[in-house]
């Protein structure tokens, strides 16, 4: 399928079908709106392109999904946060879940009937993810899970969790499960954060029973699953975040009365550079290249551009962030996390130094 024709058809459809969000700007409202948008787009097939037929999709290249994400997020129909979970977790399920499980579950996610979350980070395992200690122990046909996750986005709205657990020592001892969030023994506590949106949660697991057929891959495949997820996070998923950032730059240009062409130009140059890089990355992926440490460059460019954009907004809309309770404040504050989540900028630079520049060990 021709990507630009698909894009044009999608634009035309979105012009005809109004999915503008309602007045509820709470986090719950955002999650509901995303579900509404997914349902409509799934019904009209847009949400099914770029996903394999075996998982309820209509096939075609992953770039079609990126185009849908760009339009949905760029038009402000849905927030990039909840959307990113779909983009990251559906491919993981397709690649690692037993085929019948993926066929049953993925359509629920794509059609907006469910929201899923990703249980990776732990209080003691942030940058050093491989040190995670949430334990899964075999018990007949089940596994029993005990431990604690943190920074689990949207856990309070999620029906399922892609969870990393420890089943043996070392990188090879990490095992992933697809866990029902209503299973007995799971407690979710949203974290209060500086931007005032309780997106991130702590999730506690006390003797949670998970059937063995809910294992993703085989025992010990968890680390590979986590690494394989990065190319999705940093291709189709980044493309929608870039669309979001462009929409905020448009808004800034419209709202500012300050005349500071250098600052506007710099923010735009950072976004343009990022967009060009992301385009190249997605074309490499489409051409069959296996994405790896090279996507650390995309991550650094994204985090840098996002903070530059919101720093510029603070400069060119003087007082707005400090004196008004507007979305500029929330989004400015959230942008402070861009160099932290999804692998800190320091970790990305370590990877670039070691794997791309071949500088040897630290």
């Amino acid at each position: 399928m021709n990507v630009s024709e698909f894009h044009a058809d999608l634009r035309a459809w979105l012009d005809e079908n109004d999915l503008t969000p309602g007045p509820d700007h709470s986090l719950e409202g955002h999650v509901q709106q995303f579900g509404r948008v997914c349902a409509a787009l799934y019904e009209a097939d847009w949400m099914r392109y770029g996903w394999p037929v075996a998982a309820g999709g209509l096939g075609g290249p992953a770039m079609l999904r990126a185009v849908v994400g760009e339009e949905v997020v760029g038009r402000g129909l849905a927030e990039p946060g909840p959307y990113s979970m779909l983009e990251v977790l559906a491919p993981t399920m397709i690649d690692y879940a037993p085929p019948e499980l993926a066929a049953e579950m993925v359509p629920r996610l794509l059609s907006g009937r469910e929201q899923w979350c990703q249980g990776f980070s732990e209080p003691g395992s942030g940058s050093d993810l491989a040190s995670l200690s949430t334990r899964a122990t075999p018990d007949g046909d089940n596994w029993i899970i005990n431990g604690q996750k943190v920074w689990t986005s949207f856990a309070q709205y999620s029906t399922r969790c892609v969870l990393l657990t420890r089943t043996a020592p070392g990188h090879d001892g990490i095992t992933a499960f697809f866990v029902d969030m209503d299973a007995p023994g799971i407690t979710v506590r949203p974290l209060r954060t500086m931007h005032g949106v309780d997106e991130f949660c702590e999730v506690y697991f006390d003797d949670v029973v998970v059937p063995a057929e809910r294992m993703l891959g085989r025992p010990g495949d968890g680390w590979r699953l986590a690494m394989d997820l990065l190319p999705f996070e940093r291709s189709t998923c980044f493309w929608q975040r870039i669309a979001y950032l462009y929409s905020r730059l448009d808004r800034l240009i419209a709202e500012t009365t300050a005349v500071d062409d250098a600052a506007l130009g710099e923010a735009y140059l950072a976004l343009h550079t990022l967009r060009c890089r992301s385009r190249a990355t997605q074309h490499r992926l489409a051409g069959g290249t296996r994405l790896g440490p090279d996507t650390s460059i995309d991550k650094v460019l994204l985090a840098t551009a996002e903070q530059k954009l919101f720093d510029t907004a603070r400069d060119l809309l003087p007082g707005t962030i400090e004196l008004d309770e507007s979305s500029w404040r929330t989004e400015f504050l959230y942008s402070r996390a861009a160099t932290i989540y999804g692998g800190t900028s320091e970790i990305q630079r370590n990877i670039i130094a070691r794997r791309l520049l071949d500088l040897g060990k630290e």
Binding site: I253, V259, G265, L356
Partner: protein, 267 residues
């Protein structure tokens, strides 16, 4: 040089060019490039010729007056001419096709200030300079990387220190970002995308100069080490047809005028 070359012939051509540039520079290199068919290649396959030749000028640290040819090709000027080009600060320069004694230009590029010139389309020339800057930045990164691996202090290569590693990583990020602006097919305004490409490349080259100079420490400050040649080169090339700073500001003015940020590349 012919059009529609396959990958193997392009690799061979690149090797030939690289070797030629490693041993010749200036008017002598102009002659060698002419023999290799530079002018024909420029008119028949500019999308191959410009990135290849200009990137290699940067990587090898050599120079030739080929920017003239790119501009003449764009404006339909007579071969062999030296059209005045805008330089930062409102001045104009020509890129002379022969060397002269007493050239005061930093790093010895044969530029000469002239009283004025005519405004002309320089999009393609900006892209060419951007490729040159990216090539120079890669050359600086290669020098600094090697030094970091070779230089031992406190009993280990300085490449083992995170502060050093992160500077080099930042340099690579800047270079790869700039190169992406050059390889992405632009939809819409070619002038705007070439301004952005030169701004990104100029910025990347200045970033490389700063970080690589620091990583190379004292030896990078000596005349015998090659680093200073690349640093001088990028300082001069950044100023030609607009510095990264000037172009960025001009782009920002354009955004205010049109009241939105154009999405210049699509999937």
């Amino acid at each position: 040089m012919t059009t529609a070359m396959d990958a193997a012939s392009i690799a061979l051509l690149e090797e030939t060019l690289r070797k030629t540039m490693a041993t010749t520079s200036g008017a002598e290199l102009d002659g060698a490039l002419a023999e290799l068919g530079w002018v024909e290649m420029l008119s028949e396959d500019p999308d191959l010729a410009i990135p290849l030749v200009f990137r290699l000028l940067g990587e090898t640290g050599s120079h030739a007056s080929v920017l003239n040819d790119v501009i003449l090709e764009t404006i339909g000027g007579l071969p062999g001419g030296t059209p005045p080009m805008p330089y930062t600060g409102g001045s104009w320069v020509i890129w002379e096709r022969s060397e002269r004694d007493g050239n005061p230009v930093l790093g010895g590029l044969p530029l000469r200030e002239v009283p004025g010139g005519e405004l002309m389309r320089v999009g393609e020339a900006r892209r060419a300079l951007a490729w040159w800057l990216v090539g120079s930045a890669r050359a600086m990164l290669a020098l600094a990387r090697q030094h970091a691996l070779d230089r031992v202090q406190f009993g280990k290569p300085i490449a083992a220190f995170q502060a050093v590693r992160h500077r080099l990583a930042e340099t690579l990020v800047a270079i790869e970002g700039a190169e992406a602006t050059l390889t992405a097919p632009a939809v819409g305004s070619p002038d705007l995308s070439s301004m952005l490409a030169k701004a990104a490349a100029g910025k990347a080259a200045l970033t490389a100069a700063k970080h690589c100079q620091q990583v190379l420490g004292g030896v990078g400050f000596t005349a015998e080490h090659d680093l200073h040649r690349h640093i001088e080169r990028v300082l001069v090339l950044d100023g030609l047809l607009g510095t990264a700073r000037e172009l960025t500001r001009r782009v920002g003015g354009g955004l205010r005028a049109r009241r939105s940020a154009p999405r210049l590349v699509q999937l």
